[in-house]
């Protein structure tokens, strides 16, 4: 019995009061000023879906170009822009903002039993900066000067000498701009996880999804500065005349690669670890069993990102780094396998020991495990350095990391869309079309990516806009392209199903799956204040603890721990999660979108090399910050 239904008239009155207090400004303007993590999560969700469509369209154009040899659908430069933008979009503008921005934002406070993120205005700011950076980057595509040296953007190809246009300036600034948003998200995820949990939720009782978010946020916080340094150096080299990467003047082409992959490899784990988190929520709900080996899984989620920081040079085996260096990174690459195998067997054992019900969300998780294991096994092959050096920069690599990034990161996102759809909308989705969409996607992605292993071994390098006939590659490429269109059809069916369900689905009630975590204890969609009573937590599966939930209802009836004197939230001690204090939270603010707008203007001036104007807008940004801090929540 969820707390969604008020136990007594007095409780109903209290809930009404809370709703009034926490409701944001109504109407369209309310979406601009909102600091509600759920609304921000939804903004993230819709925006990232648009970018997903853009990145997917780019991929389909490439696949059409490669359907047969010597195809002339796009020019070489357009093709280069397409694969650069596809990579940048899918990584920085789809998966990261979808998993952290949309799923993390919406679910983290709910699962922790909090009423909002620790820094609600900063949370809003991260969204508006994300949106602004996306507009900034896609302006380059509209103007025909999109980044064209790949998402990895190696120097000297990306230097001014070999790429004199604005393309790479858009790349550098777009990446830096986007990193600001991800850094804000990461920082406040960490603080929220440490400080905003419901009292009683010590670390060993925290849902695994939150461990995954902590791992991703920690990874982002440490990895992004390396990328920012890298891109700032490149921007300075290109426009100010510094020599970080200028070989003729003592710079180094290796420097770019080291910094890039010191960011880039942790990034890969940052992309998939939230997906692990989604899996560890769907599996217990759809097997009605606690996740097997919980502590090992929690540690593995954190370890995978941590070890992920020590493997970067396996992207550089072919660059002529010393053999001993390569072997060191080979052994680190071997180690990073273990946290993943722990999780795979824990998921499987949970499914074996529980009563698995293969509804659409669990189907996507089963598909995810299948594809993650394939991608992982081809990844283990790179422990053998000579093999890595043989297939690096071929389609074998593309196959490997698309099994990881599409199979292991995006499939759980799809599964999560179905799983939390009833919570977010209050409606049930249609099950049969859901299952059909899974099977179409499963067949499509395997047709799309599996043959890439084979063409890679047959010697087809990646990032080439066309290829000759007579290499034995043509048939496989045609199959891949067909698989690409099937995948697109599956995604359209999935989204279509959810849209139709939104308008015509049956009411879901607060807890259609008998889910394990706190979000299933409140109504669907959750009220603006999330929980009428700060919930009691005594395990990692609080919704299954009937006694605790009864206690919550009693407290609501009595009016204890309702916190309705103001816009209030509980703060706890970081590790044990014991009650620390009640904090006053900020509310609706127009400053985050304004700050993002002024930053957007700064970045546009920078890319036009109008540094004076950029400075003026930067002053505007600082003034916005003054406005922001003119009224603190305590004074509200």
């Amino acid at each position: 019995m969820a707390i969604a239904t008020p136990p007594t008239p007095a409780a109903a009155e209290r809930m009404e009061l809370l709703a009034k207090m926490w409701e944001g400004r109504p109407g369209v303007l309310g979406w601009f000023t909102t600091t509600d993590h759920k609304k921000i999560g939804l903004l993230y969700f819709w925006t990232t879906l648009v970018f997903f469509a853009a990145g997917g369209a780019e991929a389909l154009i490439m696949r059409t170009q490669l359907a047969q040899p010597n195809e002339k659908l796009v020019s070489p430069n357009t093709y280069d822009e397409l694969f650069s933008m596809h990579g940048i979009t899918m990584i920085f503008f789809f998966i990261i903002p979808m998993t952290t921005g949309a799923f993390g934002n919406y679910l983290l406070p709910l699962m922790l039993g909090a009423r909002d993120m620790a820094f609600p205005r900063m949370n809003a700011l991260s969204y508006w900066i994300f949106l602004a950076s996306g507009i900034f980057l896609y302006t380059s595509l509209a103007l025909g000067v999109a980044p064209n040296a790949g998402w990895f953007d190696y120097v000297p190809l990306a230097s001014r000498q070999y790429d004199p246009g604005r393309n790479i300036d858009f790349y550098c600034l777009g990446i830096i701009f986007n990193s600001i948003s991800s850094t804000l998200t990461a920082a406040q995820f960490i603080v929220t996880i440490f400080k905003s949990r419901a009292p009683g939720m010590s670390f060993n009782r925290m849902p695994l999804f939150c461990f995954a978010m902590l791992a991703a946020a920690g990874g982002l916080l440490f990895a992004l500065p390396l990328l920012s340094a890298d891109t700032i150096f490149l921007f300075l080299d290109r426009n100010i005349g510094t020599h970080f990467y200028d070989i003729a003047r003592g710079g180094s082409a290796y420097l770019w690669q080291h910094l890039f992959w010191m960011f880039g490899h942790p990034e890969v784990y940052i992309l998939i670890v939230p997906a692990f988190g989604i899996a560890t929520e769907i599996i217990p709900a759809f097997t009605q069993r606690r996740v097997a080996a919980f502590p090992l899984v929690a540690i593995a989620e954190l370890l995978v990102v941590f070890i992920g920081f020590g493997v970067w040079a396996h992207h550089m085996y072919a660059t002529g780094i010393p053999t001993i260096t390569a072997i060191f990174f080979g052994s680190a690459t071997a180690m990073v396998v273990i946290p993943s195998t722990i999780q795979v067997f824990a998921w499987c054992m949970t499914m074996v020991l529980g009563t698995a019900r293969f509804g659409t969300p669990l189907l996507f998780i089963a598909g995810f495990i299948f594809m993650f294991v394939i991608g992982g096994l081809s990844g283990i092959m790179f422990v053998a350095i000579p093999f890595d050096q043989q297939v690096t920069d071929t389609y074998f690599i593309i196959a490997h990391f698309h099994y990881i990034i599409f199979g292991a990161a995006v499939f759980p996102i799809f599964g999560g869309m179905y799983y939390w759809f009833p919570k977010v909308t209050g409606k049930l989705y249609y099950e049969l079309p859901g299952q059909i969409s899974f099977w179409i996607l499963f067949v499509g992605t395997n047709l799309l990516f599996f043959p890439m292993h084979i063409v890679g071994l047959l010697g087809m390098p990646r990032r080439q806009y066309t290829y000759p006939s007579g290499m034995g590659w043509s048939g496989y490429n045609l199959v891949e392209t067909i698989g690409g269109y099937i995948t697109a059809a599956g995604i359209i069916l999935l989204i279509g199903n959810l849209v139709v369900s939104y308008f015509r689905g049956a009411p879901a009630g607060p807890d259609p799956w008998h889910g394990a975590t706190l979000e299933w204890t409140t109504s669907s969609p959750p009220p603006p204040y999330n929980y009428a009573v700060i919930p009691k937590v005594s395990s990692a599966y609080p919704n299954w603890d009937e006694a605790d939930r009864a206690e919550d209802r009693a407290k609501l009836a009595e009016g204890t721990f309702v916190l309705m004197d103001g816009h209030e939230q509980v703060a706890v001690t970081p590790v044990d999660g014991t009650f620390d204090e009640v904090v006053e939270m900020p509310h609706d603010s127009p400053w985050p979108p304004l700050l993002a707008l002024s930053l957007l203007l700064v970045f546009f001036m920078l890319v036009l090399h109008k540094y004076g104007a950029a400075g003026i807008f930067a002053v505007g940004t600082v003034l916005t910050l003054f406005g922001w801090h003119s009224k603190e929540p305590q004074e509200a």
Binding site: S75, P156, A346, R357, M381, A384, G459, G470
Partner: protein
């Protein structure tokens, strides 16, 4: 020993199946059709890894099938039923077993096989070849001789050759999958790799690192010749151009050709495009983009931007007669 043999037998099945799929394909750049000890070691390493990988995938799929079958049988259970057993499985199958397997792979791959793919030391081979990557073609030099050619590397068969790779501009990667792994060309650095071919033949290679607009058209051939044939070829390549006084030669010098191309024995000494001293001895043009025949040569001279958009060679504006004269001259450079 018997166990080992049985193991091999099991693995041969999936390996054989994939081999069946792969046969019938052109083997030009097939990493699994190796023709050197290095490439063979890498290929057999792959077959073993793939066999074990299928086995690993089978275990996970089997577990999910068990879950699916049980789902239809048992309705209720405790939320933590079988936890001790699950813990043992996770530790055994998720930690101990993979560590043993990966440690084995690490030792085989990174201690033994890696040795065979290493470059021979400077001076350890009888022949050294310098390969210089350009956007978007390969310059080939034979140190100690005056031979300079492009996009076609000749080596003596069954002889280790040290190839030193460097770049004139951006990062490229030198890769002949049937003979060895890939090696990048890094600005300001010279990397090295061994080329060795078991059999006489033509082996296709390709730039393996994105290097700009025409990365797709930056291929090359390695010809492994019998030693005597190779020596004759090298002597021919060392000679300066034969015909230096012809209408075509004059045209070459007067038109813009000589700004970018060198023809040894003439005044043409440009260094933007390939050395053309023996261009007619090569089988293809523009880094394997088109065959080296009369029609394609003419098309290349007049419409280089259409054949290979963005490359450094401009469309040369000449009268039809001039083009034919020039082509005749170039075709005489054997």
């Amino acid at each position: 020993m018997t166990a080992r043999v049985r193991h091999r037998g099991r693995l041969a099945l999936p390996a054989g199946l994939l081999a069946l799929v792969l046969t019938g394909c052109d083997e030009q750049q097939d990493a699994l059709a190796p023709r050197s000890h290095a490439a063979k070691d890498i290929a057999s390493l792959f077959w073993w890894m793939m066999g074990v990988a299928w086995f690993g995938l089978a275990i996970v799929v089997a577990l999910m099938v068990v879950a699916w079958r049980k789902a239809h049988r048992r309705p209720g259970h405790e939320p933590k039923e079988g936890e001790a057993f699950a813990f043992k499985v996770v530790i055994g199958a998720g930690i101990v077993f993979p560590i043993a397997l990966i440690a084995t792979l690490f030792v085989i791959g990174d201690i033994f096989v890696i040795g065979t793919t290493q470059a021979p030391a400077r001076g350890a081979t009888q022949l050294t070849v310098d390969v210089i990557g350009h956007q978007w073609w390969w310059e080939v030099r034979y140190p100690g001789t005056s031979a300079v050619t492009a996009n076609e590397i000749h080596i003596p068969v069954r002889t280790p050759v040290r190839v030193q790779v460097s770049t004139a501009d951006v990062i490229h990667s030198f890769w002949v999958p049937r003979l060895n792994r890939t090696i990048d060309t890094i600005p300001g650095k010279t990397n090295a790799i061994e080329l060795y071919a078991d059999a006489v033949g033509r082996y296709r290679g390709q730039c393996d690192e994105f290097c700009g607009l025409q990365h797709a058209h930056m291929s090359f051939y390695v010809f492994a010749d019998p030693p005597a044939v190779f020596q004759r070829w090298l002597r021919d390549q060392e000679k300066p151009a034969a015909a230096t006084r012809s209408a075509g030669a004059t045209l070459f010098a007067q038109a813009s050709c000589a700004n970018c191309h060198a023809i040894r024995g003439t005044s043409a000494s440009g260094y933007v495009g390939p050395d053309l001293t023996h261009v007619a001895s090569r089988t293809t043009l523009a880094s394997l983009t088109i065959p080296n025949d009369r029609n394609d040569l003419v098309r290349w001279i007049t419409h280089a931007q259409e054949v290979k958009p963005g490359n450094q060679m401009p469309d040369i504006r000449l009268t039809n007669a001039q083009v034919q004269t020039l082509a005749t001259y170039l075709e005489s450079l054997r």
